[in-house]
Symmetry: C2
DNA sequence: TTAATTAGTTACAAAAAGTAACTATTATTA
DNA sequence: TAATAATAGTTACTTTTTGTAACTAATTAA
């Protein structure tokens, strides 16, 4: 059985900085996970509850990738039932003020228009 | 024939601001398009060339969505061959400084580790 | 002996993104 | 006259990413 969990990257030979950034946070969940981990350490299950629309599978994959990139820290305790705690690294914390600005930016963008329209063409 | 182009949104009833933000820019290309449109107006084909890994199909879909959300402006000229120019709105421009911070943040994150590892388990 | 607890994993399904060929319109070229 | 070029998309199809629901292992408590 073979499972691949590495996200496929956008080729970026000329090292475009925004493409590089998107190779790190250009997906639905990474930023949300960072935001929820702000100022606290959370167990896997707590994260799954707080980010209630994420699936455990995707949460697990994202956390692995984020750990690999040095955005989150994973501490595993040899207990039963298992306990695994996730927290932000310095790098992860450094992302927070940027995410807060993003939140402010998006405040008056309305998504209802898209939500209600059906976007069908015949 | 029916084509749906509306992106599916993360449900966000408690109006989590970061979830809202991710419903707008939580994908591979939106931020890259904004970044490339900084300080200039570009035609569809020019965008496709400058963002060379994006497909015309996805570029087209993204631009529609971004126009709908008020991030880009689309100007179409009745010429042959057609000319369509895209530029940032105020809202789009407001995103730029945030993207620049993101670029700075991501500068010393190395993706090679993920690239080279195979992530296979048996 | 059975249920409860927790951090994942697994096989499968749906959605998003990628590919290559195609369309319509008019001007230019052969 | 007919074929070619140019441009902004679209189309049918394939691959990748994300989502769903059920499952596992290990130990404690009932």
């Amino acid at each position: 059985m073979v499972t691949n969990m590495g996200r496929k990257l956008i080729e970026n030979h000329n090292e475009c900085p925004i493409t590089h950034s998107m190779n790190i946070i250009g997906n639905k969940w990474t930023s949300i996970i960072v935001y929820v981990l702000a100022n606290r350490k959370l167990r896997f299950g707590e994260l799954a509850i707080r980010i209630d629309k994420i699936s455990r599978k995707v949460l697990s994959n994202q956390l692995k990738e984020m750990e690999l990139r040095g955005i989150v820290n994973r501490e595993s305790y040899a207990e039963t039932p298992p306990r695994v705690e996730y927290s932000l690294t310095k790098k992860g914390e450094d992302l927070l003020p940027i995410l807060n600005q993003l939140c402010a930016w998006s405040k008056n963008i309305d998504l209802e228009a898209v939500d209600e329209k059906d976007f069908t063409v015949s």
